[in-house]
Symmetry: C2
């Protein structure tokens, strides 16, 4: 796989430098902690929101930093958790009297880095709480995680919390809200190809010319099945069905309930994994939208594009996020981040 | 190449249907002319701006329709000019008392379709003028064109004219403005891979594992040279140099002048061709920005992402657009189109 790269070891720092240069006065790159932060952070009147994760998922998370979204993003190398001491350094730099919220996708390496960092920060009297995101319905446990993986649905969590934090929400409020959004957000992915981390130089997995990986993870983790390529509609139908048939425990814990029942209103995201053109994403969107409406689920708003990628992987994920009036308002609140059209 | 596709013949219509479903009340799909139009068009108080081109370059042009950009986009099949009668039908549907502006990238097929359509429209007393865009510096003539090709720099032309048309500019004003913007906009592309139109089923060209096509066109047209893959920095430097050394005839036609002299201010676009992750685009952006500043050219604003693609081609283009206060204002004016983050 050919790439635009100089020294693979400098791939992430050079990308981060580019983000800073492209957004002068808006975001800042701090090489010491491999950090992208709001240029005006730390803000003392809001909880500081920090997401860390491996690189290779851009725009997540280094390109979604700014008013109304993250205060800072602290990436690791490609597909690797950020070093614990970088999480500590980032958090100290962005510390706010209202506290710090760490958002972490549910992967063992990321959890460990953030849990160790939290211990060290708390020992210094810094207030930190952590929210875990695990929206991927494909499998219950995966290669690098106990429990479900966190994938593109994380965007809705960040957007809601970013907006609420601008409105002055407390750290406890944000944790509660984040858990609510995570609980109504479900994703399912599919890959047509693998992808190649610059420093590795060969694909993390390969698929035959007629194969797909249904339920793939964003680091190429196996999904539910490797199967023959079928039509776009058949692929979409299987993915939408996987999401609609997912269940959550009822309030009394005795039964399991659907998340998206008839009459639910949802945000519908079709997220490209990096190598799939937006033309195909819209074709897929059309089918997913139609299938949801057929199932009695109303689509409130579309999100089509790249939100959480796997380098140049050809593939996509579908995410539903159930919305109510409060969440709609948070999702529509203004935000300003590096990725934009104009 | 695996794709999310049902019937290849329905690839474009199914994408267009998806765009409409994703943007209810904002844009409308008219199957009769394969047209995406503003839902509130035609507007009688502004010139109607229509761009036609082959599909496969999305978001150009069917995803950049809306207030402040295009009034309508009339695509052909993948990499094929729109049928002449669709251009006629689209134009009649969007006719305005202030006239119609056709924006056409300089390819022989597109020019022919629009020129024939113009004759037919004028015969019916409809006022139409055409603006040709030819920003690609790579080659003087190309496979499907006499003169330079029109590529991603077209975005700046559409954005400026879209804003000016909202402000009430006349058809003649828009033609003059469009020619001014086109004259200060220059692009250069590079490919790491070819791409595969759904109905064709095989790549339009292939490159060896260590090869690049420097100066590639957006339909895979040959550029200046097929050469070995080198570092990102070396590739960027060659592209920036190609743009900075391009010349235009002086006012008296006797000499040629640089377009981007020392002290020029520019918008700098790094445009992904479809299969290149945004991480690499930002790495490239960083180098291009630094090289321009070194050459004494000031970067006013960044545009990093996918603006004009070639299906899933891995590659990118760099565009400079020289800005003055008037153009800055037009580029920053509000616009609302299908592609967006939030």
């Amino acid at each position: 796989m050919k790439k635009f790269v100089n020294d693979p070891k400098q791939f992430v720092p050079e990308m981060l430098k580019g983000i800073e240069l492209a957004n002068p006065g808006k975001v800042k790159y701090v090489p010491e902690f491999n950090l992208i932060m709001r240029a005006d952070a730390p803000k003392t009147n809001k909880v500081s929101i920090i997401q860390g994760s491996g690189s290779g998922h851009e725009p997540a998370h280094v390109m979604v930093v700014g008013p109304g979204m993250l205060d800072g993003a602290c990436p690791g190398d490609v597909f690797a958790a950020p070093p614990m001491d970088y999480v500590v350094g980032t958090s100290k730099l962005l510390n706010s009297p209202k506290g710090i919220l760490h958002i972490v996708n549910n992967y063992s390496g990321d959890r460990m880095a953030f849990e160790m960092a939290t211990e060290m920060l708390e020992a210094e009297g810094i207030t930190v709480k952590t929210l875990f995101v695990d929206d991927d319905v494909a499998v219950q446990n995966s290669t690098w995680t106990v429990g479900r993986r966190g994938v593109a649905g994380n965007f809705f969590v960040m957007k809601a919390l970013g907006a609420a934090s601008e409105d002055g929400a407390s750290l406890d409020d944000l944790i509660a809200l984040g858990q609510q959004v995570n609980a109504v957000t479900r994703s399912m992915g599919v890959a047509l190809t693998g992808c190649t981390p610059p420093a590795k130089g060969k694909p993390i997995f390969t698929l035959a010319d007629n194969e797909i990986e249904m339920g793939v993870g964003i680091h190429g983790e196996p999904g539910r099945a490797r199967k023959p390529l079928v039509s776009a509609n058949e692929i979409v139908d299987e993915m939408v069905d996987a999401i609609l048939t997912d269940r959550k425990p009822s309030a009394d814990g005795k039964t399991v309930d659907p998340i998206y029942g008839k009459g639910s209103e949802v945000a519908l995201m079709v997220n490209g994994l990096g190598g799939t053109p937006i033309s195909e994403l819209y074709l897929v969107y059309g089918r997913a939208h139609a299938q949801l409406e057929k199932a009695g689920v109303k689509v409130w708003r579309s999100y089509v594009g790249e939100y959480c990628t796997s380098l140049e992987m050809a593939g996509l994920s579908i995410t539903l996020c159930k919305v109510d009036d409060k969440l709609k308002k948070l999702l529509l609140a203004p935000a300003e981040i590096p990725i934009r059209v104009f």
